[in-house]
């Protein structure tokens, strides 16, 4: 799966900490594989030499930013959890492994190939906030991940990395795997909490933030799989090493990927701030023969389109934002010149519309309308005012106007497509009855 470049990473390779145990010809890293490269040593350092606030401080110092899409500083997020004597006794640490954003396929790799890395990270995170229980919220279709994680959890209990008095400390933790049943909204962190409580996965209003009142009303941290997988290494190799990994403003490495009509669709661990061009041309091998790059979504379905002219932008949270999009999950979806951007947007909006939880009006009723308009347009039944209407809807469903970020995310590819590929939309209007040109 990891192509040639991974072959080099047979040995411990601090340049690519997250994937160093992913070795060609090996199904996945067993516990002993994992430990042979320093696995659970980061945890040992954290738990035996630091108190919880100390662990939080290290993560703050590392400037680790969440890999779930929003890039929120992880240490800062943790610092909102009440600590000390007056804090509630029960707290939770939850890993968001619901990976369902179209075009995203990074967390699965980490879970299938190196399950212990996630578990170690979770114990560190849980220790940092003094969580009493931890959950992995896994999307239901990830059967292999479920299998590998279950086994790894059992092993971790056996080895004393989970359960009572972990590594002889006063810290105890139970960790459970929760396997869901398919709904994109479950990935939204507050909807995830409702889902984990066995309720309909409707997002919750913030405030209160989960750090104050989360799972079953208790302080809770939700972090993405990849975010958590960084933790063991930060503690094993130290903050300075970690800071040295990034090429741009952000620290560490990141799993980047590309899908669509590139020669070598795949996922790679690369330094934060790797230029997009490098990812596309060197790692993904460029476009397939006969296809040209027309644009791309830099980090999953809910990010704005970028154009070939943006190829030299660095894959960095802020750098991408400066160019009107978001790094999101860092897995790019490539639009080629033979794919109709309008149809691609329709496909995306159909997804979002179907996955709307149905709680707030703009999203529940707005997305299906967007889909209807796009369908009409493509079927040659469009009206001149439709593009304006679509534009209006992208604003109406913009950030802050809906209950959660699903609909605003859905609007990102649409609004940027309207901006960059307007001609493609207008073409459908010019020819009232368009023949299906597949």
């Amino acid at each position: 799966m990891f192509g040639k470049f991974l072959k080099k990473s047979k040995n411990r390779n601090p340049d690519k900490p997250l994937t160093r145990n992913i070795v060609d010809g090996r199904a996945y890293a067993t516990l002993s594989d994992y430990q042979s490269t320093g696995g659970y040593e980061g945890l040992r350092t954290a738990i035996t030499t630091m108190d919880s606030l100390g662990v939080q401080q290290v993560v703050k110092d590392s400037e680790l930013r969440g890999r779930g899409g929003a890039g929120f500083p992880t240490g800062l997020k943790w610092s909102f959890v009440p600590m000390g004597e007056k804090a509630p006794e029960t707290k939770y640490f939850v890993v968001n492994a619901d990976e369902m954003e179209p075009g995203t396929f990074k967390d699965r790799v980490l879970m299938e190939k190196d399950p212990h890395q996630l578990i170690e990270g979770m114990v560190i995170g849980s220790y940092a906030i003094r969580a009493t229980a931890a959950y992995i919220f896994l999307r239901g279709e990830y059967h292999l991940s479920a299998e590998r994680l279950s086994q790894a959890i059992a092993e971790a209990y056996q080895q004393g990395f989970l359960g009572k008095n972990i590594l002889g400390s006063d810290f105890s933790l139970d960790l459970y795997l929760h396997s869901s049943a398919g709904r994109y909204i479950c990935g939204e962190e507050t909807a995830l909490l409702n889902a984990l409580e066995g309720k309909r996965a409707i997002p919750r209003a913030k405030p209160p933030f989960p750090q104050i009142s989360g799972l079953w009303g208790k302080p809770t941290i939700v972090n993405n799989v990849e975010t958590v997988c960084n933790l063991p290494h930060i503690f094993f190799y130290g903050v300075e090493w970690y800071a040295g990994l990034g090429r741009g403003k952000d620290q560490g490495t990141k799993l980047f990927g590309a899908s669509g009509r590139v020669k070598n669709p795949n996922v790679w661990e690369l330094p934060m701030g790797t230029p997009i061009r490098e990812i596309l041309e060197e790692h993904a091998g460029g476009m397939q023969d006969g296809y040209q790059l027309k644009g791309f979504l830099p980090g999953g379905a809910s990010t704005d389109f970028m154009l070939p002219e943006h190829l030299d932008v660095l894959m960095d949270f802020d750098a991408i934002a400066e160019h009107g999009s978001r790094m999101g999950t860092g897995t790019m979806i490539i639009l080629d010149d033979k794919t109709c951007p309008v149809k691609m947007v329709l496909n995306l909006e159909q997804f979002f519309s179907r996955e709307s939880c149905g709680w707030c009006t703009p999203c529940r009723d707005g997305l299906p309308w967007v889909v209807t308009i796009l369908e009409d347009l493509i079927a040659g039944k469009g009206q001149a005012s439709d593009l304006e209407l679509l534009e209006h809807q992208t604003k109406m469903m913009g950030p802050g106007n809906t209950f959660c970020a699903l609909a605003p995310g859905a609007m990102e590819p649409l609004q940027s497509a309207l901006k960059y590929f307007r001609g493609d939309f207008e073409k459908y209007l010019e020819r009232p009855v368009v023949k299906e040109a597949e």
Partner: protein, 888 residues
């Protein structure tokens, strides 16, 4: 009180409110759907969007959700900012993409919150060209109709039904724009407060089914302010009439009593007014009498010699009617209609409310209690809306917890999430399971005497000078300790008791507890059976056993019974003897029943819907109800029949109620419950018909082409007309709320002092009880009773549908009445080899009755909970030992 700036004007608003509440309280119009004043905010519909400016310099601002944004000093917002205006119109447009355009045939039309908000938001032309999604409707029972296509997914129904009312069998299914609100499968909605869905739903998804069968629009209904006649709490209602039929009863806002909600008995119990069983004409010896004068003449003849006439009153008749009867026959010849035992019970209830040193709380105050003990009452079945209030009271602990982490009370989902199962203490001591058990901290089941003993013991534990219970079982003493501590630790502890288990000692024990509590915020609420039980108890009156004696001894030969079927509660032989031995039996009532069968003279009375009158509720509040419609010519108000027979020379309603207030001890002020008939606003009466009332001239077009003059109402400040001053009516005369732009019942916002608070001009009614602390410790502690082998103590099992006689006459309610049943503990049933659903024989002192067996493991062993008041239960002797066997 923070000052906030709304569109350039500074307003002082209530601290801790959200922007939507603040705007509405200020009198501004801001549309909303998912928010409800009783249920708080969840921010789902996004309809209440406003623009918020971050600083005085900020000119652009950003959109924020009104109902989710707390007010704070210096907050600057705009409702009129074009972005906000446009967004709100967009939301309506989105809701309309799927909403059918069936307003002309929709029952909500004209009182539809969605219509109001649509107009308010200015969405007029449709851009959506797609298809609408459609749904299948469900059968939800006799009360509620279902039209899912009209749903705008505001989620209010589920939030109301599950979170507010504690119901389980209505939910939300599916996702995205396929969300569906209903039951898992077709079936009767079980919750006792399901009818409120009709008012909670902002569109026409949940509709009033009985009304729908014969429908009229809100504006076409003739209405008047009324008081629910189906329990002692006195919820304010608005009945509506069209074509001489009562068509619906809806909630009438009262800030201290029912506020936004009614129970299903109150909402759907009115059907008896239209029923075939109505007495339409006078009859003598079952022969119709033509001409009202002849009937009066006959009546007058029968009651000429006062000493030979006894009058039997009714807890369901108005103060006026009972008073007129008492005047007709004289105090000594006045009987309450209750048996001795009931009389004692009611006297105790009255004494306990009047004389206990604790506040006599309103329902609004009950909701604020932070620890509740219910002693011997199954509230959901005896005083339903109080049960709903208690269900809210237990949430006070969660509000405190939320506040401690900065979550406002109105952040509904957040409060529930944070608090989880955290509830304020609620203890229920009862003879069987109750519908509030799910939110109770502790439940304790016992026989009525044991309940009283437990209560006395709690009082003693709270204050050792209260008499103690020497031989209390060990198990009970832990309970006593737990309850006493919870009440002692509370700031606003509340004891609720009542006549439900027919045992005066239970009430006395409750009084002792309330008295023993030290907290200044303590309260005692007492529940009694009927809409005017308190009023009747205040009038005194002897027991039926005495009535029987005076008739038997020949002292009296004429019995006048008003609005009371004596067979329903009293033992059959007693009533047979009483009525059988009297020479003349006169019954004045609106509906026929077993007692009217025995009457020589039957006089047709008006029901609550056709008459003015006063009821006194359980808190001692006198409340006036007004006739909604004209009675037929033959019918008269009970008190008028009595007046004509010589009871008094009252010129009208005001006169008789004033005379009662002046003449009877304890009734002083009763006439202040509502303005007199002379009351005018700018010289005008308050109309019963809306400005939009239609078809008045056409209504009788099949009979005559000219419109008859509207009936003149000399008895009230209301008119049977469209003309008058509706908008300025004081709360006690206001039957429906309309305000510019607000046609739904949410118009009430414009009449409240602040959203969800008291009505402008004060909530209606006059409380007659002054707090006093006369009571000494009660010490009539019942002896510990040993269960008798193979005998069961017969205790009443109250049923919301069935125990109250008037509502049983409503076809919709009748569908919900459970069979007459005897409920036993599972072990007892097993011992008797009876299964739930089997028929059994219940023998009490030689009288055998057949009933269906039911199982409730909450009923203690040795107790038989017997359907009370339910058809089939007539004449059961309560609190006696019974034998039970399977029907052979």
């Amino acid at each position: 009180m923070p000052k906030i700036e709304i569109d350039g004007t500074i307003h002082e608003v209530e601290d801790g409110q959200n922007v939507l509440q603040a705007c509405l309280s200020t009198g501004l119009d801001l549309p909303y759907f998912c928010w409800h004043p009783a249920m708080g905010s969840v921010g789902a519909c996004r309809q209440c969007m406003v623009t918020q400016y971050s600083s005085p310099e900020d000119t652009k601002g950003r959109l924020v959700v009104g109902c989710m944004t707390p007010v704070s000093e210096g907050l600057r917002i705009s409702l009129n900012d074009s972005e906000a205006v446009e967004f709100r119109a967009d939301i309506i447009e989105l809701l309309m993409t799927n909403h059918p355009h069936d307003c002309p045939v929709c029952e909500e039309g004209g009182q539809c919150h969605l219509q109001d908000m649509t107009v308010m938001s200015g969405h007029t032309s449709r851009k959506y060209r797609g298809k609408k999604r459609t749904h299948r409707n469900q059968y939800l029972g006799p009360f509620i109709g279902h039209e899912m296509n009209r749903c705008i997914a505001c989620y209010r129904c589920v939030r109301y039904y599950q979170d507010y009312a504690g119901g389980q069998d209505l939910g939300v299914f599916g996702a995205h724009n396929h969300v569906y609100f209903g039951r898992s499968e077709d079936g009767v909605l079980e919750n006792e407060f399901s009818g409120n869905l009709v008012e909670v739903c902002p569109t026409g998804v949940f509709t009033d089914k009985p009304n729908g069968k014969n429908y009229s629009r809100k504006w076409d209904l003739q209405t008047a302010p009324s008081i629910c006649a189906h329990c002692s709490l006195g919820c304010n209602t608005t009945p509506g009439e069209r074509y001489g039929e009562l068509r619906s009863v809806v909630n009438r806002y009262h800030g201290e009593i029912n506020r936004y909600f009614l129970c299903d008995r109150g909402r759907f119990g009115y059907g008896f007014v239209n029923a075939e069983s109505r007495i339409k004409t006078a009859s003598i010896d079952h022969q119709e009498v033509v001409g009202e004068g002849n009937a009066v003449e006959h009546f007058r003849g029968l009651v000429q010699i006062q000493e030979t006439v006894i009058g039997i009153g009714s807890p369901r008749a108005s103060v006026e009617s009972n008073y007129a009867l008492r005047e007709l026959v004289g105090e000594d010849q006045f009987y309450s209609g209750w048996t001795e035992a009931e009389n004692t019970l009611m006297e105790t209830a009255l004494r306990v409310v009047r004389e206990t040193d604790a506040a006599n709380p309103t329902l609004a105050e009950i909701e604020r209690a932070d620890a509740v003990l219910i002693l011997g009452e199954d509230l959901t079945n005896t005083a339903p809306i109080m049960a709903l209030a208690v269900r809210q009271a237990v949430r006070n602990a969660s509000f405190d917890a939320a506040e401690s982490v900065g979550i406002y009370q109105w952040q509904d989902a957040a409060v529930r999430e944070l608090a989880q199962d955290l509830l304020s203490p609620l203890f229920i001591v009862s003879t069987g399971s109750t519908r509030l058990d799910d939110v109770a901290t502790g439940v304790y089941r016992a026989s009525p005497d044991e309940i009283a003993r437990l209560g006395f013991a709690v009082a003693h534990r709270l204050d050792s000078s209260a008499p103690g219970v020497g031989d209390l079982a060990a198990a009970a003493s832990d309970t006593v300790k737990e309850i006493a501590e919870a009440l002692a630790n509370a700031k606003r502890p509340l004891v609720i008791s009542g006549t439900g288990c027919m045992t005066a000692a239970v009430l006395e024990a409750a009084s002792n507890i309330a008295r023993a509590l030290a907290s200044a915020g303590k309260a005692l609420s007492v529940v009694v059976p009927d809409c005017n039980s308190m009023g009747l108890a205040m009038m005194g009156g002897h027991g039926l056993e005495d009535a029987k004696k005076v008739v038997e001894f020949g002292v009296a030969n004429t019995v006048v019974v008003i609005e009371n079927d004596l067979y329903r509660n009293a033992p059959r032989e007693l009533v047979d003897d009483l009525l059988g031995k009297a020479k003349n039996v006169v019954v004045i009532d609106h509906s026929s029943h077993a007692t009217t069968e025995k009457a020589g003279l039957v006089l047709p009375a008006t029901s609550f819907a056709e008459s003015e009158g006063t009821y006194i509720n359980n808190e001692g509040r006198a409340q006036r109800f007004f006739s909604v419609m004209q009675p037929s010519e033959e019918m008269r108000n009970t008190w008028q029949w009595l007046a004509d027979a010589g009871a008094g020379d009252w010129s009208g309603s005001d006169d008789i109620i004033a005379s009662c207030g002046n003449g009877l001890l304890g009734f002083k002020g009763v006439e202040e419950a509502a303005p007199t008939a002379e009351f005018r606003i700018s010289g005008m009466k308050v109309p019963r018909q809306s400005h939009r009332y239609s078809g008045r001239t056409a209504m009788r077009a099949n009979l005559a082409v000219s419109e008859p003059q509207q009936p003149i109402d000399r008895d009230s400040p209301l008119s049977f007309s469209m003309e008058g001053a509706a908008r300025e009516a004081p709360p006690s005369l206001m039957s429906t709320s309309w305000a510019p732009a607000w046609n739904s019942n949410h118009a009430i916002i414009k009449f409240q002092q602040e959203v969800g608070g008291s009505l402008q001009g004060g909530d209606p009614g006059k409380r007659l009880f002054q707090p006093s602390s006369e009571a000494n410790w009660y010490d009539g502690i019942p002896a510990s009773s040993e269960p008798v082998d193979r005998r069961w103590l017969v205790v009443p099992n109250h049923q919301i549908f069935g125990s109250e006689p008037l509502s049983c006459g409503s076809p919709a309610v009748a569908e919900r009445i459970d069979a007459f049943s005897v409920t036993l503990n599972g072990d007892d049933l097993a011992r008797l080899q009876i299964e739930s659903g089997d028929m059994l024989e219940l023998s009490i002192e030689g009288n055998t009755t057949i009933a269906e067996a039911r199982q409730d493991d909450g009923v203690p062993s040795g107790i038989a909970a017997v359907g009370c008041g339910v058809p089939g239960s007539e004449g059961i002797a309560w609190l006696k030992q019974a034998e039970i066997r399977k029907r052979g």
